[in-house]
């Protein structure tokens, strides 16, 4: 102990000694840094990682919406099979981009790639991109009308809205809550005489895409003026960043209305509207009505928008979320083993993995979709030959 304090005292007092000590420390640091860079070089030179035989980790990137579900699924899968999967929610566009750059094994997207983009991808990569749906989500309309909560009769009930009213609100044509068209749909509710504040998304998002896709189908003026897309030129309103941004703004601003994913509204205990679907029924969004919306004929490549679904009791603003990957798995030095791991993972996700959806407020795939996805997975090839993998 005394030696220690002596040393400290010597360090403090003797500038010369301190200097020498510092010099040697400095030299040690320099040497250390040099060594580190020496180590870094061979690590750098390890080259393409896909060449390694042992596959420990798969990389995926994309949509933020299914991120909680995927993280649960991948964690369980890891415990089961020992394969580690790293999925990062950088956005659907980011997922597509990383897949095209071949920096990930698969991508996740809320909006499927359209024919034009697929053709471009095929031309540039000489490889086909396949989509399989994993689960379903829904976009709900949430609002803040807690002003006169005592007497306006809204407590415990869902606001009823029709497509044309929704469209007109978000177009800015219906400006106040006590508009006749809204009160006609909701008899017995006293609406306050305040302006409607529209809250939309400021960032590009699959949620916006689904919402606008629905509105384009049911509201001709919307289709012409605004159209559908992940980022729109909104005529009115303010933007919140991400689902929590919109939810936060709606909660704070009196008389606001916005759109968020179902899971957000439920987790944050926000009210949401019942919407009239194509069959004339007012549907309250829930896991079951969302799954029902997908219970229709879907095309072989599963790229379909199920908004404004024909299903009688289905919620009209629902959608799939997809995972995308290449059909020909032998690219960029990928090993057969890696392709097999990927296919096993995908197979598991659409079968056993589905049991994790309900607890996290995601809707599971209907059987029709699962069958189609199975066919697609079976069609993946390596060097042109079908791949055998553990199912």
């Amino acid at each position: 102990m005394k030696v220690f304090t002596d040393l400290l005292r010597a360090l403090r007092r003797g500038r010369e000694r301190e200097d020498k000590l510092k010099m040697s420390i400095g030299r040690i640091f320099l040497a250390f840094g040099f060594l580190m860079s020496l180590i870094a070089v061979p690590l750098f030179a390890r080259g393409s990682r896909e060449n390694s035989d042992r596959v420990e980790e798969l990389l995926g990137a994309g949509a933020t919406f299914p991120y909680p579900l995927y993280s649960k699924m991948f964690s369980e899968y890891g415990k089961l099979k020992g394969v580690r999967i790293n999925y990062q929610a950088i956005g659907s566009g980011g997922g597509i981009r990383q897949l095209l750059s071949k920096t990930v094994d698969f991508g996740g997207t809320d909006a499927f790639m359209d024919d034009k983009d697929l053709a471009k991808a095929k031309a540039s990569t000489n490889n086909e991109i396949l989509h399989i749906p994993i689960c379903l989500g829904a976009v709900v309309i949430t609002y803040n009308l807690a002003l006169n909560s005592l007497n306006n009769g809204l407590k415990g009930k869902h606001l009823r809205l029709t497509p044309d009213v929704i469209g007109d609100i978000f177009l800015g044509k219906i400006k106040r809550w006590n508009d006749l068209r809204i009160s006609k749909l909701n008899p017995g509710i006293k609406f306050p005489e305040i302006d409607i504040t529209v809250v939309h998304r400021s960032d590009g998002s699959g949620t916006t895409f689904v919402f606008s896709d629905y509105l384009s189908k049911v509201n001709p003026e919307w289709k012409e003026r605004i159209g559908s897309g992940k980022l729109l030129d909104w005529p009115v309103g303010i933007g919140g960043k991400g689902n929590p941004g919109v939810a936060g703004l709606v909660k704070q601003i009196k008389g606001s209305i916005g759109y968020v994913e179902l899971v957000y509204a439920v987790q944050n205990k926000m009210p949401y509207a019942a919407i009239k679907n194509s069959n004339g029924n007012f549907i309250i969004p829930s896991l079951s009505t969302v799954s029902l919306a997908a219970d229709i004929d879907i095309p072989e490549d599963t790229r379909i928008s199920i908004t404004n679904t024909r299903a009688g009791r289905g919620y009209p603003i629902s959608s799939f979320t997809w995972i995308i990957f290449y059909k020909e798995q032998h690219y960029g030095g990928r090993s057969l083993k890696r392709a097999q791991e990927l296919l096993s993972l995908l197979w598991w996700m659409i079968h056993d993995g589905q049991k994790y959806t309900g607890a996290l407020e995601y809707a599971k795939l209907p059987d029709t979709a699962v069958r189609k996805a199975e066919t697609i997975i079976n069609s993946v090839v390596y060097d042109g030959k079908p791949i055998r993998f553990n199912r």
Binding site: R15, M36, T64, G94, P244, Q267, L360
Partner: protein, 309 residues
Amino acid sequence: MKLHTFREVVVRKGIGNKWRVVRDRCFKYLLFILSFLGISPLVLIIGYIVVKGLSSMSLRFLFSLPVPVGEKGGGIANAIVGTGILVFVASFFSVPLGVLGGIYLNEYGGYSNRKRWLTYCTRLSVEMLQGIPSIVIGIVVWMWVVLGMGHFSALAGGIALGIMMLPTVVKSTEETLRLVPPSIREGALALGVPYYRVVLRVLIPASKSGILTGILLGIARIAGETAPLLFTAFGNPYFSTDITEPINSLPLLIFNYATSPYEEWHRIAWGASLVLIGFVFLLSLSARFFVSRGTIKKLSVNKSGNSKV
């Protein structure tokens, strides 16, 4: 002896005009008020983070890996380690380059050197680097490093963060070097010390405090940045210390969890925020303590008339 009343001050100090004293006093009070106001948001923010984050703090929190929603016992261990590694890599790139750059700007930045245009460009480059949005730096590093290497890595993330840290280090080095009294430099040169030793052994130690401030400021900023890491370090739910692999970091985790719908994850995000500012605070405190020994603080005269350094 303290001078209390205005009259005493005016008479004893020989000031002669009491308004000067008034202005002096007002100035002092103004400074205190402004400083107090300026720092109060910090108290609010830190208070907010502490209140919300304390509930999730525990040893398990600090040492275990993140788990999916609904499972118990999630932690942020890999994010803490990841942030540490990223900061180290970033400093590795930016501190030598930054300090050298600051020295360069100070030594060659005068009015009489033919290297002046390069100095002007360097200074301008440094200031412009500070103004580039973090996401744009991330995009550029993605193009250069990630696509170049073919995969995401902590190295790419560290490079992006290092670029962001550079301006702060350069600027503070330059400014503190500039203010080292010329007598020190001239004294060393007069003693025959070679030029490079004058800079490295005399000037730099004299401005240690300022340089360190710049480094710490830079680290503080990059430790909390998310955007440049999205496309470079990418993120990783598992533990990793390999710099050629994707890596998790605290701000990334905070961003992902805070923007999720789950109350549980929000709590973890606040706990992680608390850890992050705690990390920055500890780093700052300890570095200051170790460096303040031997710094030339002021050339001044103490009570007995001896020169005090």
